[in-house]
């Protein structure tokens, strides 16, 4: 145990950097993915069918493809097209597209679950459609979408570990590098596992407290 702790101390900065990168990539993906998903969800719920179709295709393709395949595609396809994306950019792109599809779909569900009388009441006082969305529909959809949205964040933290295979120096790759030097395989994998677990439980608790705060009415 003492030997492990000594090695952990020696490796603390690379592991810390890896953790920061994991958190940063997941945060960027949830932020951009929420923007993207906001647009996608609204289109899926309200656009005419010909406009809905490309969004539907995007969502179904993203949701039907393993995250690992998305990551590899985001890494290799731009290179073929002559765009050079670094592994971190490519990885963030892949996770953003993944998050956008999931958030779009869950927002669609939340919007469609709002009773039609809400939109009618908003229209009857003279709100335009953008106002109706901003002040009546999205605030209500956001409440019911909150738990699955937090869940998407947890999926992104876990999914970011897959970026290690395209060489992004996030927590898992850093851990593997330390194992390569120290051969303390079990100890460091367990350590990394605990770090992921702590982050995700914290995120879950954050979500629950948010839910309690907005769920009062």
């Amino acid at each position: 145990m003492q030997a492990f702790l000594d090695q952990l101390w020696i490796a603390r900065w690379p592991l810390w950097d890896g953790l920061l990168l994991t958190a940063g990539i997941a945060a960027a993906a949830i932020a951009f993915g929420t923007l993207l998903g906001g647009i996608v969800g609204v289109q899926l719920a309200y656009a005419p069918w010909w406009l809905r179709l490309p969004f539907r295709l995007y969502v179904d393709i993203m949701r039907g493809t393993p995250v690992l395949v998305l990551i590899l595609a985001a890494f290799y396809i731009p290179a073929v097209a002559g765009l050079s994306l670094g592994p971190t950019e490519a990885g963030t792109l892949a996770l953003t597209l993944f998050a956008g599809a999931h958030i779009g779909e869950l927002l669609r569900g939340s919007l469609q679950a709002i009773p039609p009388g809400q939109a009618e009441a908003g229209r009857s006082i003279g709100l335009t459609f953008p106002q109706l969305l901003a002040y009546v529909l999205l605030p209500q959809a956001a409440r019911s979408a909150l738990p699955p949205w937090i869940n998407t964040g947890v999926e992104l933290i876990k999914g970011s570990s897959l970026l290690s295979i395209i060489g992004v120096g996030e927590l898992l790759l850093r851990t593997q590098e330390v194992i390569g030097r120290t051969f303390m395989t079990i100890q460091f994998y367990i350590f990394a596992g605990i770090v992921y677990l702590v982050i995700n439980i914290a995120l879950d608790q954050l979500g629950k407290s948010l839910e309690r705060r907005v769920g009062q009415h």
């Binding site: 009773p115 809400q118 009441a121 009857s124 006082i125 003279g126 335009t128 409440r143 009415h217």
Partner: protein
């Protein structure tokens, strides 16, 4: 040409849901300050008529003219086109609607519900909107409930907030769609009294109701609809006291007990 133009003129209104003809040519005029109740059995088209006036439904034929403006559609080279979102929204703001199921915004307080249209549609400053909201909530007897959320209010209180929300916008015309049908029996009267109060204040009301005694008390005119048409109309006393058509007499017999 001495008669002033009516506030609301419905001319030859027809509407189909697919193959089903719901409105088969409805003509109806309302003058400023009129209180008109529409009665009739379920499926007679009375709620659909109200929803057409508030532009919540599209209709296939006829015109609705509100305060001199043909609403909902414009004619280009003899073809009707539904107006766009902005124009429809502007026209909807001229009428207020109170729904059977209240439809309060659950994420906003009572005052927030009343203020939303004042702030975003009429673009009033916050303090002014709040003052108007408080005045109207007081008018419907809910001054003390301004900061309560809909889930903390009874059905009757929610419906009174909905009435305040509609009237605060100072609409030319208020549409009331079976406003007591979703209420517990002991809460009906408080809502009817509120409606009666605003009618006495001079608001122009078009009411769809199943409360015959209320229709008789509050209305200047009563319209009996049957199968998508206006079957009979006249002063409340005449419609209830001396129905001309056998169908209306039968309807009144069936609803009294």
């Amino acid at each position: 040409m001495n008669k002033p133009q009516p506030l609301l003129a419905i001319r030859g209104l027809t509407k189909q849901f697919g193959a089903v003809e719901v409105l088969k040519g409805v003509d109806l005029d309302l003058d400023q300050g009129d209180v008109v109740s529409i009665i009739g059995s379920s499926g007679s088209g009375k709620t659909t008529l109200l929803r057409c006036v508030n532009l919540l439904e599209e209709y296939q034929g006829g015109d609705i003219v509100l305060d001199g403006e043909t609403i909902g559609y414009r004619s280009v080279n003899g073809r009707r086109h539904r107006l766009g979102d902005r124009a429809l929204s502007r026209q909807r703001a001229m009428t207020g609607m109170v729904f059977q199921s209240f439809n309060l915004f659950p994420h906003l307080s009572a005052a927030g519900n009343v203020m939303l249209g004042l702030r975003k549609v009429l673009k009033l400053p916050k303090a002014e909107a709040r003052a108007i909201a408080e005045t109207w909530l007081a008018r419907v007897g809910l001054a003390a409930r301004a900061d309560h959320y809909p889930s903390q209010l009874s059905g009757g209180q929610q419906q009174r907030v909905a009435i305040a929300r509609a009237l605060a916008m100072n609409p030319k015309l208020v549409l009331l769609d079976e406003v007591t049908s979703a209420l517990d029996p002991e809460l009906v009267q408080e809502v009817l009294n509120t409606v009666k109060g605003i009618a006495e204040d001079g608001a122009t009301l078009l009411i769809v109701t199943h409360e015959m005694r209320f229709a008789r008390d509050v209305s200047s005119r009563v319209v009996f609809m049957e199968q998508g048409r206006i079957h009979e109309e006249g002063p409340a006393a005449e419609i209830f006291g001396n129905p001309k058509s056998a169908r209306l007499a039968e309807f009144l017999r069936n609803t009294r007990h």
